[in-house]
């Protein structure tokens, strides 16, 4: 069940665990993915080092890793910030997903085992739970996991890495450009995909994934009107 937050110390995970740059990066990515660390948040090295009970060396390595995944932006002599994808970034991310995910879903459908199906099913169930409990961040994270899991089932490690990165970035994009109306169609699409997987129907899964991604983009407000702050230093830096 393990839940926690970076700011509130409802658990002493920071002292107990033995952190490495990888685990710290994963922890931060998780927090970013769940919108506990919104876009633009400053990630001070000293602050993080103290929070995790480690030195800045590890923190820097973790931030470097996240910057390579374009989840944080490193500004020289200024610090690390949770990335703020532009409208253009958003379009590119979903273009890339459209190239990778439908065909990957096709492969996954053909390789799907019963264990895989059960795992996907429980994922959707958890997503529902989270939604019912009002834990939107957690639901969003699980929703992303669903997509990554498909790539894993397709047995394409390399593509899985790309998709994982794209989905984490999608979470940032959703944080910035999500328009409220038409909310929970998410789990519906996942349910439909699950059915296609259960029938090992690759063509259908591919088609469903394609339209699912189109729906996602359609649910965003990517008019350039809402341009991200550029000139006056991140528009008050939040």
């Amino acid at each position: 069940m393990q839940r926690w937050s970076l700011a509130q110390s409802d658990m002493n995970k920071f002292e107990t665990k033995h952190w490495t740059s990888d685990t710290v990066a994963a922890d931060l990515e998780h927090a970013i993915h769940e919108h506990r660390l919104p876009p633009g948040t400053k990630l001070g090295e000293d602050e993080l080092a103290e929070a995790y009970g480690i030195s800045r060396t590890i923190v820097r390595a973790a931030l470097l890793a996240l910057s390579h995944r374009r989840l944080v932006e490193l500004k020289r002599n200024r610090g690390a910030f949770v990335a703020q994808p532009t409208v253009r970034d958003a379009r590119e991310v979903f273009e890339a997903r459209a190239l990778l995910e439908p065909r990957t879903a096709h492969s996954a459908a053909e390789r799907m085992t019963d264990e895989d199906l059960a795992l996907l099913r429980s994922n959707i169930a958890s997503e529902h739970e989270a939604l019912d409990a009002g834990e939107n961040g957690r639901a969003l994270f699980l929703s992303g996991q669903f997509h990554v899991e498909i790539a894993r089932i397709a047995d394409q490690t390399t593509v899985q890495g790309f998709i994982s990165e794209l989905i984490s970035r999608s979470s940032l994009i959703i944080a910035l450009y999500w328009r409220r109306r038409a909310a929970l169609c998410e789990t519906q699409a996942h349910h439909a995909l699950l059915d296609a997987f259960a029938n090992r129907d690759g063509d259908l899964a591919e088609q469903l994934m394609k339209s699912h991604l189109l729906d996602l983009v359609a649910s965003l407000d990517l008019r350039n009107v809402t341009q991200p702050p550029t000139s006056l230093r991140e528009a008050l830096k939040r």
Copy 2:
């Protein structure tokens, strides 16, 4: 014309330039891409630090960046080594390229400007030059640049990043699994692509890219017989 090598000191670039982790990483990637640093080569931190005239801090950041691109493998307490993609890795890399590059070539054909065409043309010319001069590594690098350039022209930064990584990894794969026969069909395919681009024929470019990639895979020896060394510590470690 600036050419140089890591081992031989035919130029004193190491003292003059002001290196950062990014430039060091790019320099190493270039060397790997050109097969001056073959798969399995040990990249000792102290060695590199001394070579570039910087401290291990920068070297570590560069190696970390390259490990995220799967060009070097970091083994805990043992050091960094130029990656040795397995047969499975090779298949995955070319599967991913097959997903990304044909459609990207399609987009590129539609957005192609005359300047872009000239750039691609000069790239091919340089590739020919290198081949004639027997500089196979340089030719291979330029051949890769051709593909990355197409992604840039398609105006897809994110996909370009993925393709760039995949192409660098492809260079390692070629170093390990290239079978000699049927050598220079490379530039032919690029010429054909260039023609399609010149005619702004997206469908043709997409098709040509697809078969180009198939040809590439076909030119590799990916039978599992030639398994990469695993058990006896990198098979004499080079």
